[in-house]
Amino acid sequence: MRTLRESAVLREAVSWGVALAWIAGVLFLLMALVGAPFGEALSAFLQNAFGGRRLSYLMATLSRAALIAGMAVSVMLSFRAGLFNIGGEGQLVAGGLVAALAALFLPGPPLFVLGASILAAMVAGAGWALLAGLLQLHLGVPLLVGSLLLNYPIRYIASYLVAHPFRDVQSGMVQSHLVPQATWLPYFPGTRLDIGILFIAAASLFAIIYSHFTLHGYHARMNGLSPAFARTVGLPVGKLTLQTLAMSGAIAGLVGAVAVFGVHHRYIDGMLVQPLYAWTGIIAVLLVGMIPWAVPLSGLFFAAIQTGAAGMERSAGVPKEIALVMQAVIILFVASRVSGALVASSERRAGGGEGA
């Protein structure tokens, strides 16, 4: 048994080595093609993903990772329950928009305004997700379609609102006014990283506990594994659907609020859409096969790749397009490795379980 496990570890190590060699090989080729210095580009990549003066780039990576991880956790809850909610973007926008508007117009002490606005954002996100759920349950619109289509109206509603009624005209940009400075999320002492990441960490923790340890999380997973089974044994499938969507949407709304109070301090048109947070979140979840504890790590990985590639472009003169191709190459190879390893480990567990 021991030798079996050891050889499995060895095999794992070897295949990771092979994947890394491939990545290095392809990147080298790409850089040779555009004539960029390999060493310099690599150090620029690492520097920009994890370094910087007083680790400022690492902080930027973390801040981005928080948003991606938050969106990943949000879709993970849905996917695990077998609900193909790909409307995270709409729910995120709904949250961000409502957070900004609430903070601009709610009276009261800053801490109250902040709290109430975050809450309102979560309700907005949940509501937008529930809309897709109701469309499915009552009108028979498949969730995959309904949730995706609902991304568009909210995007344009948000654009309209910050372009017209609530626009900060003086700034000359399509954006809302700044939310009161007292409601901004503070930075961790001595850094430029806001404490929004703590909210995301809390949401991730909640999702992990919910998925593994609660009755509803268990029922949701049964539905995800086999909807026919869940129906046959009489799990409350409809309720489960709405409840799960509401939680997904609330977390997406929270991410929107964190982006407003922690990063941009206002709602800027496109600020939640263009960086593709929601879509990256979906890929991050698929990469680790919906295993809850791995989802935040996967989010961090994607953020690092993105900031690193951006840095390569800035400091090593690697053209942006090539940086993007490299990004894709890294993701592809790591993805193949990670999913392979997860499948193998779950097979091992299945075999081991027999003897337990």
Binding site: T214, H219, L225, F229, T232, A350, E354, G355
Partner: protein, 506 residues
């Protein structure tokens, strides 16, 4: 082609599924492999077919050592297998399913369907098989799917055919047709391996029998050298259970009352149907599969809506309640399809055992799961229903077919509800377990539960039922008291017209 398995051993973690088994399969012979659930029959055949790599042992074809890297390898060397759980693409047509992975390429690499079609016609004709090639598989009955699987093997020119419990869900007529086909294969010199739990089939068809128990081969030889009783003793490893005595019992209040029920069916509406099941009686529904039994059960369980009519459970109308509420009111359901509806294969035994339990307090603390209590409950089922599995934390997918069935049956019967609906409850379980499950159903009846039994197995319906309803073309064609039932009468009702003889038994 002569096949020899030599000293095959397969381990899954600490569990030895097959231990040092050697077996020869001769051309022109039907070789039956029998044994209790989890004995290792499927695993052994999976080795031969290249789906499982053995830890030790060799495969020899015509004296030559072979080592498969994948089932494709095995197929190329003339092996074919019909799996215990079918492997067909629901949305594709019969023709597409059959040529899948062995497509005849025409010009430009396009699939030459017309060539495939005419070749299939020839094969089907040769062995007396008839089937519409353009129907989507999703619309076929289980028996027809079986035929598709067989045709698939033939199309690939298999010389060695492995059939893993091919008859467990077939009606007697479908079984007879399949056996006629297999006889024709035997005459054509093919080697056939037949895994089954039905000893009558062994006696009827086999030339050679191998008995497995707990991973080992305990007996192997010609059928003429043994007897049905001896094989049965070999399987259970001891004496056979005595025949069951039915206690006389007067039925009580109606537990299930169905009135003028109509349900949408695959081919037109099913119904109107009316029936009652009383406390302390087993009502069996017999009929050729696809005559509305499935739709009736779906409507009673709440999985499909009723078009009209009323359903009452324990005196309360439930027509508009969902599955969950009906189950809470006192209904358990053993579904026909254990792979899709009965179990979540990707979840553990414990998670499967606890799904749908009403006494949630017993395995939760507030919103949280009490995993230890869940495992305890699952262990209880494993013990009581003699499920052969590593433990509560094993994945359901790794259980043998019969053990999966026992888990579903155990979970549902343990709920101890006034009404039990059982569809083919002994599908694929061994003779010992059939006896045990029948015993449990009888015990529940004697204790005053109502049991609605649907089975394609006429013997099962006749052995258990107090009353038998026969369904034909979406309606109840007749009712017979259990004590007066005989195969002839029921068989006639199943085809509904007395003058219309049973389908030709070739």
């Amino acid at each position: 082609m002569r096949v020899a398995l030599c000293g095959i051993t397969v381990r899954f973690g600490a569990l030895t599924a097959v231990e040092d088994v050697s077996l020869a399969i001769e051309p022109g012979e039907v070789h039956a492999v029998v044994g209790e659930n989890g004995a290792g029959k499927t695993t052994l055949m999976n080795v031969l077919f290249g789906l499982v790599a053995p830890q030790a042992g060799a495969i020899r074809l015509d004296g030559q050592d072979r080592r498969w890297t994948s089932p494709q390898d095995a197929i190329r060397h003339g092996l074919g297998m019909v799996h215990q759980h079918f492997m067909l693409q629901e949305s594709m047509s019969v023709l597409e399913n059959i040529v899948l992975c062995a497509e005849p390429a025409g010009r430009f690499g396009l699939v030459d369907f017309s060539a495939a079609r005419s070749r299939l016609r020839r094969i089907a004709e040769q062995h007396g098989i008839s089937l519409a090639l353009d129907r989507p598989v999703a619309r076929l009955s289980v028996g027809e799917r079986q035929v598709v699987e067989v045709l698939k093997m033939l199309y690939r020119q298999a010389e060695v055919l492995i059939l893993d419990e091919p008859t467990s869900v077939l009606t007697p007529q479908e079984k007879d047709r399949l056996f006629a086909t297999l006889r024709s294969f035997r005459t054509a010199g093919k080697a056939i391996v037949l895994i089954t739990h039905k000893l009558d089939e062994v006696m009827e068809l086999a030339d050679r029998v191998s008995v497995m128990r707990a991973g080992r081969l305990v007996w192997s030889g010609r059928l003429s050298q043994t007897s049905k009783e001896e094989i049965a003793r070999g399987i259970v490893g001891g004496a056979l259970p005595p025949a069951r005595q039915r206690a006389v019992r007067t039925p009580g209040e109606p537990v299930l009352a169905v009135r003028d029920l109509e349900v949408a069916g695959r081919s037109g509406a099913v119904g109107p149907l009316s029936l009652r099941v009383h406390a302390g009686e087993i009502v069996g529904i017999a009929g050729v599969a696809g005559n509305g039994q499935g739709e009736l059960i779906q409507a009673i369980t709440g999985l499909a809506p009723a078009l009209s009519g009323e359903i009452a459970l324990c005196g309360r109308p439930v027509t508009h309640l969902d599955v969950e509420r009906r189950r809470r009111l006192g209904m358990s359901y053993i579904p026909e399809d254990r792979q899709r509806m009965g179990l979540a294969l990707g979840a553990t035994v414990s998670e499967n055992a606890n799904a749908g339990r009403d006494d949630r307090r017993a395995f939760t603390r507030g919103p949280f799961l009490d995993r230890a209590a869940m495992a305890r409950f699952a262990s209880g089922l494993i013990e009581r229903f003699r499920i052969r599995v590593g433990g509560p934390s094993a994945l359901a997918a790794t259980m043998s077919g019969g053990n999966k069935q026992k888990l579903v049956v155990g979970r549902e019967l343990a709920r101890n509800t006034p009404l039990v609906i059982a569809e083919n409850p002994t599908w694929g379980v061994d003779i010992g377990a059939i006896d045990f499950i029948h015993g449990e159903l009888m015990r529940m009846r004697d204790e005053g539960h109502a049991v609605l039994l649907v089975s394609t197995e006429l013997d099962e319906v006749m052995a258990l039922s107090d009353r038998i309803l026969v369904m034909y073309a979406g309606a109840i064609a007749g009712e017979v008291a259990g004590t007066e039932a005989d195969r002839e009468t029921i068989g006639r009702m199943m085809t509904s017209r007395a003058h219309q003889a049973l389908p030709e038994v070739a």
